[in-house]
């Protein structure tokens, strides 16, 4: 079923077949365009998605270089395409953004806790963080305290990190002209004030727009199913769900943790289509969890709000927060998030 034992798919594979690997059937955007052309009402067919394969990073990426992306909580945003952004100007951007932040601090807008040390902004590319060759290169912005030497491998005093990426973003790439760079997924870690500052500069400089990316219960269920479907050598975390019950006057939170081996056994029993996850399987998987719970407690979890899912692959919160725990499936997780981001932009 999952092919961790087979060699990684090579970059020599054509972009279109890799895309086909990921999406079986049309994307929601393509379907909508099609139905608009035909002037029929849009009836969504249940999506199918391929189970993330292990490590689709291109060969020239050093896993250590992306290790710092794991085990961190990232706040998610969708980002509209950047106008006249150039990868050759990264040093220039670093200077401009540093100056901008310094100016804002002077005005008293950058509220920073701690001593008033000087900061340095660094733009760098994240090689290999893409789904197909067509995807633009991902890049990283970091705010460091100036006393540290900027060095990729050194653990400097990083105050804030944000990165922009696009994983299998073909549906968006097809719609924009060459002046635009599409990196619809933005992830930030650090003080919100810094995120707001950086965001303001980008919006002014590249005429783009950030929007917080919430993840609804439907997508959380999909994520739970897909990540449970991923083959793991050993599990680092339990499979856990958190529901928030809308009862008044008191709020009630229900946390439902299943041993990861048992969750996998349940999934395997539900799963029928090799290599893919279908809507029916997601629904059935969740239904089994609901009915097991109902048998014991007589509470209908389906009537409550799914707020957080957590597996050994990654954990996601409805407020748009993600933590990726497993290097092998990093691209797979980002691919789903890119899809959500693109959907929000459209």
């Amino acid at each position: 079923m999952d092919s961790c034992d087979t060699p990684e798919s090579t970059p020599r594979q054509s972009a279109s077949s890799r895309l086909k690997d990921y999406f079986i059937g049309a994307t929601p955007l393509q379907k909508r365009l099609e139905s608009v052309r035909r002037q029929t009402s849009f009836v969504p067919t249940p999506p199918r998605r391929k189970i993330p394969q292990c490590s689709q990073l291109q060969e020239d990426v050093d896993p250590q270089k992306v290790a710092f992306l794991l085990h961190k909580q990232w706040t998610l945003y969708s980002l509209t395409p950047l106008y006249k952004f150039s990868y050759t100007n990264l040093k220039e951007y670093s200077k401009l953004l540093s100056a901008f932040i310094a100016a804002e601090k002077q005005k008293g807008r950058a509220v920073e806790v701690g001593e008033d040390f000087d900061i340095k902004v660094i733009f760098s590319t994240l090689l290999g963080m893409k789904g197909t060759q067509r995807d633009p290169e991902a890049f990283l912005v970091q705010i460091l305290s100036k006393s540290q030497l900027p060095s990729e491998n050194r653990e400097g005093k990083v105050l804030w990190t944000g990165w922009f990426c696009c994983i299998f973003g073909d549906s968006l790439l097809e719609t924009v002209s060459e002046d635009f760079t599409c990196l619809p997924l933005f992830l930030a870690n650090g003080a919100e004030t810094n995120t707001a500052l950086i965001g303001t500069w980008f919006q002014k400089t590249f005429d783009c727009y950030f929007s917080p990316l919430a993840i609804n219960a439907y997508n959380l269920s999909w994520m739970a199913a897909m990540w449970t479907a991923c083959k793991m050598d050993h599990y680092m975390a339990t499979t856990e769900f958190l529901w928030s019950v809308p009862c008044s006057p008191q709020s009630l939170d229900i946390s439902y943790a299943v041993h990861p081996e048992d969750a996998k056994a349940l999934w395997d029993s539900v799963h029928t289509t090799p290599g893919e996850v279908t809507q029916e399987e997601v629904d059935l998987f969740m239904d089994c969890l609901y009915s097991h719970f109902h048998r014991h407690f007589k509470i209908h979890l389906s009537a409550t709000r799914l707020v957080r899912v957590s597996t050994s692959v990654a954990s996601a919160h409805t407020d748009g927060k993600i933590k990726i725990l497993c290097h092998k499936y990093l691209i797979g997780v980002l691919a789903y998030l890119t899809e959500l981001a693109i959907f929000q932009i459209e």
């Binding site: 008191q250 709020s251 009630l252 939170d253 089994c288 014991h296 007589k298 509470i299």
Partner: protein, 305 residues
Amino acid sequence: MDETVAEFFKRIILKIPMTEMMTILKTWGFLSENQLQTVNLRQRKESLVQDLVLLCEEKRASLNDAALLDIVYTQFHRHQKVWDVFRMSKEPGEDSDLFDMEQFKSSFKKILQRALKNVTVSFRDAEENAVWIRIAWGTQYRKPNQYKPTYVVYYSQTPYAFTSSSRLRSNIPLLGQTFETHNSTTPLQERSLGLDINMDSRIIHENRIEKERVQRVTEETFGHYPQPRLEFAQYKLETKFKSDLNGGILAEREEPLRCLIKFSSPNLLEALKSLAPAGIADAPLSPLLTCIPNKGMNYFKIRDK
């Protein structure tokens, strides 16, 4: 301000240890933040007392304000008193009434004032539906003695009342009477299901019968009064997966599903009580949840039998 009231203030404040002074004054809440800031806690106690009495005078403190300060002091020093506990018994056949705090206070005061012309009664609400009552006793001809009050602490959702032992033992029966009279004079109120069908005759409740059944079962399970405050319950489940609808799933698996379920809420039992009426849970709720108050447990390990 009356000389006796001023003297009363002086004596109460002198009782308060310096380490507790600010806390007690703040809890009392009569003097403003600004006034409290002007107080110099480093001076000798006698001078401090004088300053404070002056502040009270400025704000026109009354005897009742002094009585409240006395209650606050006593609340902080409740352990220094010896308390008697009284338990009210219900007569068989009596209905449990909805308790109205304001009505209770008012009738309590009235009864005492009717019996003894000279009596000072003060109330201060406390946590967990409790009320502290301070009674200074006088007689037909003498003003109440503020320096030998009796305290009664009544937890309205229980049949218990605590009284600080009083030298004036003759007054105990009178206190007893206040509770008796109160309970029997409270009119029986009709149980309201919260369905006001008379509101508009064009609006009907589809599942009226089911709604009423759920309401009834919920009340039978949880009772009328507020639930004990609990924030957390945890269940370790090791049971096999069984499902009638999804037959075949995990059918051959011998091993149970290992699950850990945690419920958390600022008031868990109240939240659980509201689930069935809201349609989120079935009524009756699972005994795994409803047994919590009876068993006095909130950590469970559940296995197949």
